[in-house]
Structure formats: structure tokens, C-alpha cells
């Protein structure tokens, strides 16, 4: 009983984390058609920066949530800079984009190693969320429940952003038909920078939120990137609903796969993606932003 319950909670938690990571990835991919292979690096950098804010090494100590927001902003700025300085000049050249994003991810990994060392860093769960609630035989770890709440809040916020704001309308138009969007006078250039920054910021935020559970270690970037890819291909590129459903699905497969089929854990993780590609190549919710 406890086994199923614990794993179910964990699956949803992990799905929530994946949603924060992959929603940005999906938007970037859907809108700009850029295979952003630095997305895992953004996640890792967010976590490392957050841990530094927490540690007080910068002369001030911040609380967990402030640290998460600060690192999200920093990563968003880094992402926007990268878009402006590097990717901007490579529009329509996927080969060069692959090379540049891979090159940058190599550099980022090495810079993190330089800055934070190879020693895994563990991050304390934020104050007040370290414990768990017991309900009969069941145990609900508080922090994991909090992640679920955060993911839902972000999902709603992103939905409102896309549905109710001018920016959202522009993004939707861009995903639907980039050429048309340009024709009707949407300043695609600015939009790209904003979306790339937003996506990067979300990834950075996810990194810090995930840190108390995953801890931070060299290689975290490469553990997360394929997961984001799978979610996006499964759910459909550019689709918010797709990344939400895809994240939860992958969260379940990831957790139950490891517990029930440890030897084939990675195989079952990627299998649904292959099936979806064969049956429905555009992904479960491909072609719709929301």
C-alpha cells in the first residue's frame, strides 16, 4: 500500500518538476524551431546559482524561495544574452545551432565544474517543508507536495499568459505560422529573445526547486536534457498542455520503471515516445499551443 502511494506521489512530483523544465523547452522549440541542447545546462546552472545564494557566499543570505527566483532571473538573462549574441545570427541553420548549443553546454558544464567543484552539493529543503504528514499508514513528504502545487500554479500562470495577454497571442501566432506572424507585424526578433529568456528562466527555476530532491552534481544537465526531450516529443512541440500531460506521464514511467523494471528502466522511459512517433508523429497535442 505504502509502496504504491509513495511512488505515486513521487511520480506526480517528478512530473511537476519536468513540467517546469520542459514547458520552456517546448515553447522555444515550437516557436523558434531551435534544438536548444543547452536546456539541461540551464537547469543545472539555476541549481548551482541558487545554492550559492543560499550559502551566503555572496555576502548576503537569502531564503530558499528568494534564491530560486534570483537564480531564475539570472538564468533568464543568460538565456536572453545567448539568444541575442549567438543564436540570433544562426536563424534557419539547424546544423550551426546544434553545434553552438552543444559547444555552449560543454563550456557551461566545465565552468560549473570550475566554479562549484565536482563535489555534489545537497540543498536543504526550505524551512517548514522538511517534514511529512502522516495519514494513517501513508506518509506525505511536505516538500514534494509543495512542488506539485508550484507546478500547478505555474501551469495556470503560463496558460493565462498565453491565453490572456498580448505577448501570449503573439507567441501563439508565431507557433502557428511564423511567416504569417512576421507579415502581420509581430516583432519576431524581440519575441524570440523574450521567449528564450522565459524558457531559460523556467529551467533555472526548476533546477533550484529540484535541488533539495535531486541534489546538484556535474552531469545533472545531461540527466535532465533527454527527459525534457522525451516530454516534448511525447506531448507535442510548442504545446503547453502537451508538456503538462507528457511530464506527468514520464514522471510515472520514470518512477515505476525504476522500481518495477530496474533493468529496463530507461528502455520503458523512451518507449512511449517511440510509440507516439509511430502512431502520431506530431505528438499527443502537437499543433496546439494550449
Amino acid at each position: 500500500m505504502n509502496f504504491w502511494l509513495l511512488l505515486t506521489i513521487n511520480s506526480i512530483t517528478f512530473g511537476g518538476l519536468l513540467f517546469l523544465l520542459s514547458s520552456g523547452f517546448s515553447l522555444i522549440f515550437g516557436l523558434m524551431r531551435i534544438p536548444n541542447l543547452t536546456h539541461g545546462s540551464m537547469f543545472m546552472v539555476g541549481a548551482y546559482l541558487g545554492s550559492t545564494f543560499l550559502s551566503g557566499a555572496l555576502g548576503f543570505t537569502s531564503d530558499f524561495w528568494v534564491a530560486a527566483i534570483l537564480s531564475a532571473i539570472e538564468v533568464a538573462v543568460l538565456g536572453a544574452l545567448m539568444e541575442r549574441l549567438l543564436l540570433r545570427r544562426l536563424t534557419g541553420q539547424p546544423l550551426a545551432q546544434v553545434l553552438v548549443t552543444l559547444g555552449v553546454s560543454l563550456m557551461v558544464a566545465d565552468l560549473c565544474l570550475m566554479g562549484w567543484g565536482g563535489d555534489p552539493i545537497s540543498v536543504e529543503t526550505p524551512a517548514g517543508l522538511g517534514g511529512f504528514v502522516r495519514a494513517g499508514p501513508a506518509v506525505f513528504p511536505l516538500y514534494r507536495m509543495a512542488i506539485i502545487v508550484i507546478a500547478v500554479v505555474f501551469a495556470i500562470a503560463l496558460w493565462l499568459l498565453l491565453e490572456r495577454t498580448r505577448l501570449g497571442a503573439m507567441i501563439r501566432a508565431g507557433v502557428d505560422d511564423p511567416q504569417m506572424a512576421r507579415v502581420v507585424g509581430i516583432r519576431v526578433s524581440q519575441l524570440f529573445t523574450i521567449v528564450f529568456g522565459l524558457g531559460a528562466g523556467l529551467a533555472g527555476f526548476a533546477g533550484m526547486i529540484g535541488a533539495p530532491i535531486l541534489s546538484i552534481y556535474p552531469g545533472l544537465d545531461q540527466d535532465m536534457l533527454p527527459l525534457a526531450l522525451v516530454v516534448v516529443i511525447l506531448g507535442g512541440t510548442g504545446s503547453l498542455l502537451g508538456s503538462f500531460v507528457g511530464s506527468i506521464l514520464i514522471g510515472f514511467i520514470y518512477n515505476f520503471g525504476q522500481a518495477l523494471l530496474p533493468e529496463l528502466a530507461y528502455f520503458v522511459l523512451f518507449l512511449p515516445m517511440v510509440i507516439v512517433l509511430v502512431v502520431r508523429p506530431q505528438g499527443l497535442f502537437g499543433g496546439q499551443v494550449l
Partner: protein, 422 residues
């Protein structure tokens, strides 16, 4: 990056700059009549990146502490240290061993850290007749398939976990235990040794769990821990920290016993309250009040402001063995067979872990300490401390089995000893 092109490999030549400085200051002394012997080149295979990096960096510090203490000299020869980072992977270990031997021309190798690394380079060091003083606990290389160029002054994987099994069954009176350890050779051999000894004394292992070395979240495994009265964890590097933390936050209350790396003293500064009560067995303990240990600990504190655990202590011990062996060989390491014989014959009483000697298969015989983690006796500004509660002296790799009987069964593995109904 834990899974890299070939491991993130950083290496540095530490050309004993300090010694050079010290030597320069002393050059007022008349030059010796004979030409100075060639430097003794020591290659250190360690891990500076990945989940095992925490231990690997301490290995390096242990070596440097010894070399500084001896002013970078062994048996009258200047010591050149070449450090290579394997990235904690077998492939990386292989590449780096090739570099040390073929390019840097080292006279001896210290390390590597992990059992799977040592298995990967074993045939290669035999082919190149390279004396290797490893920390890695790849059991079979001093058992059924001995490597004549390997000298293990640390311990086999099961050397401490066998006494732990005995202690858990006879003193802690545990009956049904679930084992959990990394899914690599060190984990298998450690847990196998625990299981064999534990079951011989009446205990029973009911389930074995094997998370991969890099497991961001242990929950899928923790969810399977139920219906037992104890857990034996054999984690290494910094993984014990995350495991104990997640174990606590999953609400699990079964007592936990740990292998040699699972409660390493260097982790004491990072463990939280959740680790209190953890019982572990190890070939070295910070708690040991001997002159040799105090000298070593103070050296570590002075040089690196680091509180050592076994990774540093056992490498320091390796250096002591190396120094004694080289001295016994008259400072001559060119004849590899003679040099190995001299190393094997070394007996020491003043190592940080206590007295050591070697068996005929080149493995160490020494003391194993059983410790309980708590607040009592904490020193060096620590809040938590591993307090020695029992010692087993002169423990060999065969524990209390006769050598023949021990070697007749297969090496401990994922499936050996098998799970039995109980």
C-alpha cells in the same frame, strides 16, 4: 558531467614546487659526491569529478599530507607526483593508466578508487608490470584471480562488511535485513560479504536493492523497503548523505548499518540528525587515539583544513607502505619483481589505522572498527562523531573462514550469495 566523452579528465603535474623551494634554501650544503638518484615517479589515479569525487579529492590530500611530512622524499629519492583524474569510470581509469605508464613513465601507481576501475585496468598493469597500490576493493584481484603487481593496503570490499554481518547478527540481534548499495562491483562485493557473514550467524537478507551510482532520487527504492527489521546500506562517495536524508524524510525508522564508506568520517560534517544511530564497520576510524593517527589528522587539518576519512587515511597508509618498501629495496625500484617482493614484506605498526601486514595474496590484514554514529566524543569542531563500540583485530580478507573454503565459493556478486527463503 558524469557520463562524458571519456570522463572529464583534469590532470596536473605537481612538480613538488614546495620541495624545490625548500631544496633551494638548503643548497648551501655542499653537493653530495655521487649524482642524485633519478626522481621516484608516483602516479596517482584518483577521481576529481562525479559522485565519487569527494572521496577522490581526499585520496589526493592523504598522499600530499604524507609527501609534505616527508618533504617529498622517499628512501633518499625525490618524489615526483603525477595526478590523473579518472572521472570515476572504468573507461577513464583505463585511459589515465595508459597515460601514466606510457607517457609519464611512472614507477608506481597509487589508486584507483573504485573496484570497477581496478578491474578495468588490472590486465593492463600486469602487462606493464606496474606496481599498483590501490584503494579499490576489487576482491577477486587478491583472491581467485590474483594480480601479482597489486598490493592492497586498504581492504577488500567485503573485508569490513563481513565483520559487520557478524556484529549485526550477534550484537544488534537483527534478523531480517534489506541491503541497498550501488549497482557496481564494490556494492556487490560489500553486500555479498555482509550477507554471507550475517546469514552464517543466523540473520537473513530478505531483499537486495541496487540503485545506479548516479541516482538523483532514491524514492523508487525507498518505497520498496518494508517488512524487515534493519537496513544495510553500502553507499560510497557522497551518496550516503543523500540516501540517509531521503531515508529520514520518507519516514523510515528501521535501524541502518553501513559498510566502510557508508558512514565515512569525512561525511560527519555534512550528516544531519537523521544519521544518528548509524552503525558502520571500517578499516580506519577518526576516533582512534594513536600517535600515528593524531599526526595524520593534524597534518590533514593543517594542510587542507579537511577532516579526513578512510579515503585519505588509507592513501596515507599506502604511501607509508611505499616508503618502507622502497627503503627496504635500497631505493631501487627498477627491478619490478624485487620491488614488489620488498613491498609485500612490509609490516607497519604506526599507520593511522593501526598495525598492518600482508597475506600471501598481497592483501592487508588489519583491524576493523565498528562505530556508532552519535554526538558523544565529537572533536575537531564536529557535532556528530563515529564512536568506536567494538574492534575486530587481525581481520583478513577471508574473515573467519579457512582460505580454501572461502576461495571455493564464487566471488561475491549481484546474485551470490543468492536470496534464500526465510
Amino acid at each position: 558531467m558524469s557520463r562524458k566523452m571519456s570522463g572529464t579528465m583534469t590532470r596536473r603535474r605537481l612538480l613538488a614546487a614546495t620541495t624545490a623551494g625548500a631544496a633551494a634554501a638548503l643548497t648551501r650544503v655542499p653537493a653530495p659526491a655521487v649524482a642524485a638518484p633519478a626522481p621516484f615517479r608516483v602516479g596517482l589515479l584518483t577521481v576529481k569529478t562525479g559522485p565519487l569525487a569527494a572521496g577522490g579529492i581526499l585520496m589526493q590530500q592523504g598522499v600530499l599530507t604524507y609527501l609534505k611530512e616527508k618533504n617529498y622524499r622517499m628512501a633518499g629519492r625525490q618524489v615526483d607526483l603525477v595526478i590523473a583524474d579518472t572521472g570515476g569510470s572504468p573507461a577513464g581509469a583505463k585511459t589515465k593508466a595508459q597515460e601514466l605508464i606510457e607517457r609519464d613513465g611512472v614507477d608506481v601507481i597509487l589508486g584507483p578508487l573504485a573496484a570497477f576501475e581496478l578491474y578495468a585496468i588490472s590486465a593492463y598493469v600486469i602487462a606493464h608490470k606496474m606496481p599498483t597500490l590501490s584503494l579499490a576493493a576489487a576482491d577477486n584481484l587478491t583472491q581467485r584471480t590474483p594480480n601479482p603487481y597489486l598490493l592492497r593496503a586498504s581492504a577488500t570490499s567485503s573485508q569490513a562488511s563481513q565483520p559487520l554481518g557478524h556484529y549485526a547478527a550477534t550484537r544488534l540481534k537483527l534478523k531480517r535485513v534489506i541491503t541497498i548499495s550501488e549497482d557496481f562491483a564494490f556494492g556487490y562485493e560489500q553486500m555479498g560479504g555482509f550477507q554471507a557473514a550475517f546469514q552464517r550467524d543466523g540473520g537473513c537478507v530478505v531483499k537486495k536493492l541496487w540503485p545506479p551510482l548516479v541516482t538523483p532520487d532514491y524514492t523508487p527504492y525507498l518505497a520498496q523497503i518494508a517488512d524487515c527489521d534493519g537496513v544495510c546500506q553500502g553507499f560510497a562517495g557522497s551518496n550516503p548523505l543523500r540516501f540517509m536524508k531521503q531515508y529520514g524524510s520518507a519516514g523510515l525508522k528501521y535501524p541502518v548499518v553501513a559498510g566502510e564508506a557508508g558512514a565515512d568520517d569525512f561525511l560527519l560534517k555534512s550528516f544531519g540528525e537523521e544519521a544518528i544511530g548509524l552503525v558502520s564497520a571500517a578499516p580506519y576510524t577518526l576516533d582512534l587515539e594513536s600517535d600515528a593517527n593524531l599526526r595524520f589528522v593534524h597534518g590533514m587539518l593543517k594542510n587542507f583544513d579537511a577532516i579526513p576519512g578512510q579515503y585519505a587515511a588509507l592513501l596515507y597508509g599506502n604511501c607509508q607502505v611505499l616508503d618502507a618498501g622502497l627503503t627496504a629495496a635500497g631505493g631501487d625500484s627498477s627491478d619490478r619483481e624485487k620491488f614488489m617482493a620488498a613491498l609485500k614484506a612490509v609490516r607497519l605498526t604506526d599507520t593511522p589505522r593501526g598495525p598492518i601486514r600482508f597475506d600471501h595474496l598481497n592483501n592487508v590484514i588489519g583491524t576493523i572498527y565498528i562505530r556508532r554514529l552519535g554526538k558523544e566524543g565529537a572533536k575537531y569542531g564536529l557535532k556528530l562523531w563515529n564512536k568506536t563500540v567494538h574492534t575486530y583485530e587481525n581481520v583478513s580478507q577471508f574473515w573467519t573462514w579457512p582460505e580454501k573454503e572461502f576461495l571455493a565459493h564464487p566471488v561475491y556478486s549481484r546474485d551470490y550469495p543468492p536470496l534464500t527463503k526465510c
